[in-house]
């Protein structure tokens, strides 16, 4: 019994390990390069993390119930193309359209996964290929630059409010919405239950398939939103706009301490994870880490960060 109470006490501390890791990293970089700690730099860092965070948030929903979504960067790129192609005609509607396409795509991927019983790893990898092809075809294989007029629709992404970049505010809104979804709604609870023990959730009357499909739809919608924001930040759409964002997004989720096997995790952990990734990357630039060593340092830091942040008490077997 006492051991039990001890473990709960330790649990409290363990919860804050990801945050502590982040703070230590920020301070470490700041000590070496004080410019890093200036508010403007930190705000910029936050702004630059927004897209990564939104992508990671989407995939958190899927990882929570034990799946994975490998289609997110193709979805984000496709969303940017959709925005670029339709913004002249639809105005703000283009953003809605892109996110709606995301929801439908996620729905289809989720259905392929649960109905055909294809592992999510393969279903979403394949879906990513389909989306990439779709983006290539509709964009006629080029990147589409947005003109002055179209950029007017994107001040909610590119502007700033009282010195705070708008994209940071968008990121915070996503944080609040996703956090509520994950921690306060039946959907979030069911996801955790499915991730931690699918048979028991199923036997308890949880509509497992439906929850999964919702999670994939959410993931793709968030990816589409990230693509919309990317289109705003880069004022264009391109089938490769979100290239190389897939693995950092998943890494952000795991570095935050969410279990890749599902059941344990939260959106704020993902936020911390995304920030850790950003701080390491940008911190290396600040510290002037040799360019040839950057990948090596990054890989090592990923492993060390996960070793610190992961909550092993809730994971039966580490695989």
């Amino acid at each position: 019994m006492r051991a039990l109470i001890d473990s709960i006490g330790a649990d409290r501390i363990r919860q804050y390990l990801p945050l502590a890791t982040l703070v230590i990293l920020v301070i470490a970089v700041g000590v070496a390069q004080p410019a890093f700690l200036e508010p403007a730099t930190l705000l910029q860092l936050a702004a630059d993390t927004a897209v990564l965070f939104i992508l990671a948030t989407g995939v958190t929903f899927v990882i929570m119930l034990g799946g994975i979504d490998l289609s997110l960067q193709s979805m984000a790129s496709l969303a940017s193309v959709i925005v670029a192609l339709t913004i002249t005609r639809l105005g703000y509607g283009a953003f809605v359209l892109a996110v709606a396409v995301g929801a439908i795509v996620g729905l289809l991927a989720g259905l392929a996964h649960v109905r055909l019983r294809i592992p999510s790893f393969i279903a979403t990898l394949a879906m990513g290929g389909v989306l990439f092809s779709a983006a290539l075809v509709i964009s006629h294989e080029q990147s589409i630059t947005l003109g002055e007029a179209e950029r007017g629709y994107q001040t909610w992404i590119t502007g700033s409010v009282a010195g705070v970049p708008s994209v940071v505010i968008v990121g915070l809104i996503v944080l609040v919405v996703a956090h509520i979804l994950q921690s306060r709604t039946a959907f979030g609870r069911y996801s955790a239950a499915i991730g931690a023990g699918e048979p028991a959730a199923y036997a308890s009357g949880v509509k497992v398939d439906r929850q999964k499909v919702i999670a994939y739809a959410l993931s793709a919608s968030f990816a589409a939103l990230a693509g919309v924001i990317l289109a705003g930040r880069l004022s264009s759409g391109s089938p490769t706009l979100a290239a190389e964002l897939l693995l950092p997004s998943i890494a952000a989720v795991v570095v935050g301490g969410t279990a890749i096997t599902g059941g344990v995790g939260s959106i704020w952990r993902t936020l911390v994870g995304a920030l850790i990734i950003s701080v390491v990357r940008i911190g290396m630039t600040f510290l002037g880490v040799n360019i040839f060593a950057q990948n090596i340092v990054f890989g090592a830091v990923l492993i060390i960060a996960v070793a610190i942040t992961i909550d092993r008490s809730k994971i039966p077997i580490v695989k």
């Binding site: 393969i122 279990a259 990948n295 890989g299 990923l302 492993i303 039966p316």
Partner: protein
């Protein structure tokens, strides 16, 4: 869907006498998919069935096969290995720097090969040791070593590509055996396949890998040291990836740090298309061979069938969904993740 506990199945189909083996009809489904695929492509472009194309498919399949063999062992344990590209790249680069090459004065010849295999084993060992000792999920451990492997390869090269001038190493990809007419590299891959088959079927390591995939806690009760098995499996996989690196370097005739690009997802896709379960415990290297052939034939066939480049990757995605959906034995799988 019935994610019922295992408890139900034995009651329903209790027939102790029926000598059911691990290889059941369902595992033949990928073979049927492969045959169908070949038939369709051959109808559209009869060149597909030429001996020349057979050789080219074998050539295209040799590296994915070797990589898939290594990955199969990891996936059988229920883990995942993302360091395929990292180890392959590092091995290819080190090989190119050790044999006669255009950048330095080394000329170790075939002696370089055992050294490179050792490097693969070393990185694989690090994967396993970090994963087991620090209890970091294999997904993250190997993601980290992926970055590190490519990073070290890049640092060794300083951004260049190094041409391999060693005749013997190049011969792996270029020269062919006098009998069948297959490049030696293909024979190496076939040899690796049989080595993997023996490890899988006739060694304790092979057995324990299945046991860990079937239930790590239960395997522990039988006195199996899970951590040792895991470390050995990752080391073994590292050796296979190193072989892949040697073949890749021989094929392209150079070592550069982009040589591994895009190979990871092909490898895992091939393993899964073959029918090995990502949850661990079921599957085999034979199935991986079939999976590799499905993936290779598919991409070869798309060019032969004249599918426009921009939709190829999408068609490939849909075909893979179809292949996996067809070959999935839904009754055997309780939970799909």
């Amino acid at each position: 869907m019935t994610p019922s506990a295992d408890a139900e199945s034995p009651r329903a189909s209790a027939s102790p006498k029926s000598a059911m083996h691990r290889f059941r009809l369902a595992s033949w489904a990928p073979v049927i998919v492969l045959v169908l695929l070949c038939a369709v492509i051959a109808v559209i472009n009869p060149n597909f069935l030429s001996f020349g194309n057979f050789v080219r498919i074998a050539q295209a399949a040799m590296i994915p096969l070797v990589l898939g063999l290594g990955a199969t062992f990891i996936i059988l344990m229920g883990s995942i290995d993302l360091s395929v590209e990292g180890i392959l790249t590092l091995s290819a680069v080190i090989l190119s720097l050790l044999v006669l090459n255009g950048a330095n004065g080394n000329d170790l010849g075939l002696l370089a090969i055992p050294l490179v295999l050792l490097v693969g084993a070393g990185v694989g060992f690090i994967n396993g040791a970090v994963h087991v000792k620090l209890k970091v999920p294999s997904f993250m451990t190997t993601l980290g070593t992926w970055f590190i492997g490519v990073g070290v390869a890049n640092a060794l090269l300083g951004g260049t590509a190094v041409r391999i001038n060693d005749k013997l190493v190049r011969a792996l990809a270029i020269s062919r055996d006098p009998l069948v007419g297959l490049p030696w590299g293909v024979w190496i891959a076939i040899f690796c396949f049989f080595v993997a088959l023996v490890i899988q079927n006739y060694t304790r390591l092979g057995r324990y890998i299945y046991a860990l995939g079937g239930g790590e806690d239960l395997a522990g009760l039988s006195g199996i040291r899970a951590s040792r098995v895991r470390i050995m499996a990752f080391t073994l996989a590292g050796v296979f990836y190193a072989v892949g690196g040697i073949l890749a370097a021989a094929q392209l005739g150079l070592g550069n740090s982009q040589i591994g690009l895009g190979r990871l997802f092909t490898t895992i896709t091939a393993v899964v298309v073959g029918g090995t379960s990502l949850a661990g415990g079921s599957g085999s290297v034979q199935q991986t061979l079939v999976g590799v052939l499905v993936v290779v034939v598919l991409s070869n066939g798309m060019v032969l069938m004249g599918i426009p480049p921009s939709v190829q990757i999408g068609v490939q995605g849909l075909m893979i969904i179809a292949a996996v959906a067809l070959s999935m034995d839904r009754k055997l799988v309780r939970i799909v993740k």
